[in-house]
């Protein structure tokens, strides 16, 4: 097997005295889509922040294309080719859509390439072209999400870290955005690490998945196999076997197998 483009080994990340990530290890193969599932507070966002340099791990390593990048400044990580689409979008509200996109290409010097990419982004999300000169703060939630993804794309990343792109969006919009994520992956060869609470969507989109619970990975498998697991069905997909009463509200114990 080829060396994975991104390899996280045994990272421990703290918020003050609280260890949020307790020895997490996983790999993302080049050109793949990998998802990390987990409930609130499991540590998904912290994992992404640790990779992109916003947070520093106390221990462990993050290896990107054979190079250790843990504790590197976020801008350096970004220059190496890792773009982060943060949770809650975080677009610059008072800048226009076009300016936001240009911010994404801030570190690039090839103006031809930037112009090309701008066209490509508008190709993926035509609505952004329509709103190119509007302030980003006036966009709808879905449009802001498109903008955040596009802004990340403007850096021509090799790896894109997506933090809950489905947050607060309508089911239809979620589907559209995930379709585009797949296209970006296929057409532009961008490797994707996707963190999601919408397990259904994430498992349909990704090739491989990890389940994170209270800072530790408890399950790892291909998404095809994950959707067949009892615990995934019950706790992440909300599918319950029908009990004798037709419904059942109590929860089984998780066994992760």
């Amino acid at each position: 097997m080829a060396e994975p483009i991104l390899k996280v080994a045994n990272i421990e990340t703290y918020y003050g005295p609280i260890m949020a990530i307790r020895g997490v290890s996983f790999e993302v193969p080049e050109g793949g889509i990998v998802t990390i599932l987990g409930s609130n507070g499991a540590g998904k966002t912290t994992v992404l922040k640790t990779i992109c340099g916003v947070m520093d791990p106390q221990k462990g390593s993050v290896v990107f294309q054979g190079r250790e990048i843990q504790r590197m400044d976020p801008d350096k990580v970004m220059r190496l080719g890792i773009s982060h689409v943060p949770e809650g979008r975080e677009v610059f509200p008072f800048l226009t859509v076009r300016e936001n996109l240009r911010m994404g290409a801030f570190t690039r010097r090839d103006s031809d390439g930037v112009a090309q990419d701008l066209e490509a982004v508008f190709g993926y999300f035509p609505v952004l072209r329509e709103r190119a000169d509007q302030r980003a703060g006036s966009l709808s939630g879905g449009e802001q999400q498109m903008l955040a993804i596009s802004r990340a794309l403007m850096a021509r990343p090799k790896v894109m870290l997506l933090d809950e792109p489905s947050l607060g969006l309508s089911p239809k919009l979620v589907k559209d955005i995930f379709d585009i994520i797949v296209r970006i992956n296929r057409e532009r060869g961008v490797t994707i690490l996707l963190v999601e609470q919408n397990a259904n969507m994430a498992l349909q989109t990704a090739d491989y998945g990890y389940v994170l619970e209270v800072g530790r990975i408890v399950m790892a498998d291909t998404c095809e196999r994950l959707v067949e697991k009892e615990d995934i069905k019950e706790f992440y997909l909300g599918i319950k076997e029908q009990g004798a009463r037709g419904q059942r509200r109590w929860k089984k114990r998780k066994t992760w197998r």
Binding site: N10, Y210, A220, A244, R257
Partner: protein
């Protein structure tokens, strides 16, 4: 002393002038009135229940059952965790003349069905929605069950079923019936007879289906009357109730013995919160199975690994001082003046803190039983200053058969209980005789005849009595391994040593008719994951953790360490890790989280065979 023929007492056995459980119970309800019977934690606050309320609720439950047609000798089953309602139903049922039977809340719907049918249960009490579902799944095959009562109706408010009734409604029914027939309850209690069947206890059945052991009132009263030979009993003792009440050990400790002593059980919120609850309660008497003692120990052992250098040194020093004093006492010597002085310092600086960390700083009696335990573990607790004593017994003798007297002897399970006999048969089996021997297995005269012969209960355990009358248990008879080389090996000794490791949750030694010994290990997930994390070993899920070279080496070195204290033929040559995290719901484990040897042998046959194939 033990071998002398001792006349088994035939005269009535009484506690406080009472010879049946309901008589004793009702007598104490009257005598103790507003004194605290037990406590439970409600919304974060420990709340007391008085004996008067305990009695009133038990009576309401019992009278409710009578109102719904419970006849003397009919069976009532309880499917719930360790909660106060369990006690109301237990005492209510027996008071009303019924037979009380506990079912493990971890049992599957199929097992529940089997026990309900085998016991011919007329009524069933379930804790909640989850347990109710097991019955609903099985109900077509359990037509003899008339009614099911639910303690906790959460999630069931819109559920209607003629056969299902909230527990509160039963109590209301019972109170009404009590008002209509004010003398009936006391008449029913007066009608109880010492020789009557009081309870059924289904033995976990590591072989074949579970068997219902029949325990009489006399069996229980006898144990209550004699337990103080080994168990410290004082009114106002504080206890923690958390093990399954279906198990005879917890039932005795939490329900029966307090009938005499007045000790106060405190119901733990759940099995997971035991470490916190035990610190809050700071029990003065505490009984637990070895697994719990092992967990407390490994918690401390792991914490010490992370402590500062000075902390570790202080711990090591203090424990060594404690051990010297403990060893002196075990040998019947008085510790020297210097040792005593050092011990006081060690206790003040270190040992007391450790005891506080595990909630054992007030404990006067710490009991272990229901499974074998490593003698070194007992020694460690004794070094802390916890007077830990092992008791031995089984369901079939209603709890205690032997216990540790003041002069403890490690590696043995102590001496024979008063008014009972222990004998070793020609083929080394431990036999028991006395008023504690049960009535037999329900619906199974053949098994009963095999188990009780000429009044002697055949325990299935192999062991011997030493010259001072202390019983030493070698192993379960059917667990003894005879290797291909013809060597007899008792696996439990090694398994107990292995479980002493904080990284090993349980282990099964294998090797019957094989060339060498091997072992299947269930790792302690928390501690091993922590180890992997600390030593920078990447892993993802449980299976991948078990497969890392470092973890395999870690367990290998733990096994090697244990191997050193055994003769060469008795050492484990190969091992495999069970790559699945098991829970009490799994068939591989007993409700007390022990691996079932026979089941494991079958389920992991290919894994086991693999170890022997490679070798040839």
């Amino acid at each position: 002393m033990m071998d002398n023929a001792m006349p088994v007492s035939v005269e009535t056995i009484k506690v406080e002038g009472c010879d049946t459980i309901p008589r004793l119970f009702w007598h104490q309800v009257g005598a103790r009135d507003d004194r605290t019977a037990f406590r439970e934690k409600d919304l974060g606050i420990w709340k007391s229940t008085s004996w008067r309320d305990y009695g009133e609720r038990a009576r309401a439950a019992g009278m409710g059952l009578v109102r719904l047609g419970l006849e003397r000798g009919e069976v009532v089953s309880i499917l719930a965790e360790t909660i106060p309602e369990w006690l109301y139903v237990d005492m209510g049922t027996m008071g009303a003349g019924g037979v009380s039977n506990g079912i493990y809340p971890t049992d599957s719907a199929k097992q529940v069905e089997y026990i309900l049918s085998d016991s011919q249960s007329r009524f069933l009490f379930v804790e909640d929605e989850e347990q109710l579902d097991k019955f609903l799944e099985a109900r077509e095959r359990c037509p003899q069950v008339r009614k099911v009562f639910v303690f906790d109706m959460e999630g069931l408010s819109d559920f209607r079923d003629d056969q299902v009734m909230p527990f509160d409604e039963l109590l209301a029914l019972g109170r009404q019936h009590q008002a209509d027939h004010p003398r009936l309850w006391e008449e029913l209690i007066a009608g109880s007879q010492p020789e009557d069947l009081a309870l059924l206890v289904y033995t976990s059945g590591t072989t074949g289906p579970a068997k219902g052991a029949m325990i009489s009132h006399r069996n229980v009263i006898f144990q209550i009357a004699n337990a103080d030979a080994f168990v410290s009993m004082r009114a106002n003792d504080e206890q923690l109730a958390f093990l399954p009440l279906c198990h005879i050990a917890e039932r005795t400790f939490t329900v029966f013995l307090p009938l005499r002593s007045g000790a106060i059980p405190n119901f733990a919120e759940s099995l997971e919160t035991v470490p916190e609850n035990v610190r809050e309660v700071a029990p003065t008497t505490f009984f637990a199975v070895p697994r719990i003692w092992e967990r407390f120990y490994s918690g401390i052992a792991i914490r010490m690994k992370e402590a500062t250098w000075i902390g570790r040194m202080a711990y090591r020093w203090a424990v060594s001082v404690g051990l010297q004093v403990a060893e002196a006492r075990l040998e019947g010597r008085r510790p020297s003046a210097l040792q005593s002085l050092l011990y006081q310092v060690a206790d003040y600086l270190v040992l007391d803190n450790i005891k506080r960390a595990i909630g054992m700083h007030r404990v006067r009696f710490a009991g272990t039983g229901a499974a074998p335990i490593a003698p070194d573990l007992i020694k460690w607790y004794r070094a802390l200053g916890v007077d830990m004593r092992e008791v031995y017994g089984q369901t079939e003798n209603c709890g205690i058969a032997t216990g540790m007297p003041d002069q403890a002897k490690l590696g043995t399970v102590g001496v024979c209980a008063p008014h009972t006999e222990v004998r070793i048969s020609a083929d080394s089996e431990i036999l028991l005789r006395g008023p504690h021997v049960f009535m037999g297995y329900l619906n199974n005269p053949q098994k009963t005849a095999e188990t009780v012969r000429d009044g002697w209960l055949h325990t299935g355990d192999v062991g011997f009595l030493d010259n001072e009358g202390y019983l030493k248990i070698t192993d379960r008879m059917k667990d003894i391994i005879i290797t291909a080389g013809g060597k007899n090996i008792t696996p439990s000794e090694m398994e107990n040593q292995l479980k002493f490791s904080p990284y090993i949750s349980d282990a099964v030694v294998i090797g019957d008719r094989r060339k060498f010994l091997s072992c299947l290990v269930m790792i302690d997930y928390e501690n091993v994951a922590k180890y992997a994390q600390d030593s920078n070993v990447p892993f993802t899920d449980f299976a991948s953790l078990c497969r890392t070279r470092e973890v395999i080496d870690l367990i290998g070195s733990e096994i090697e360490r244990v191997n050193q204290s055994f003769a060469r033929v008795e050492t484990v040559k190969k091992f495999r890790l069970i790559e699945q995290q098991l829970t009490a719901e799994d068939d591989e484990l007993t409700p007390t989280m022990k691996l079932k040897r026979k089941f494991v042998n079958e389920k992991y046959k290919s894994l086991i065979d693999g170890m022997y194939v490679e070798a040839t």
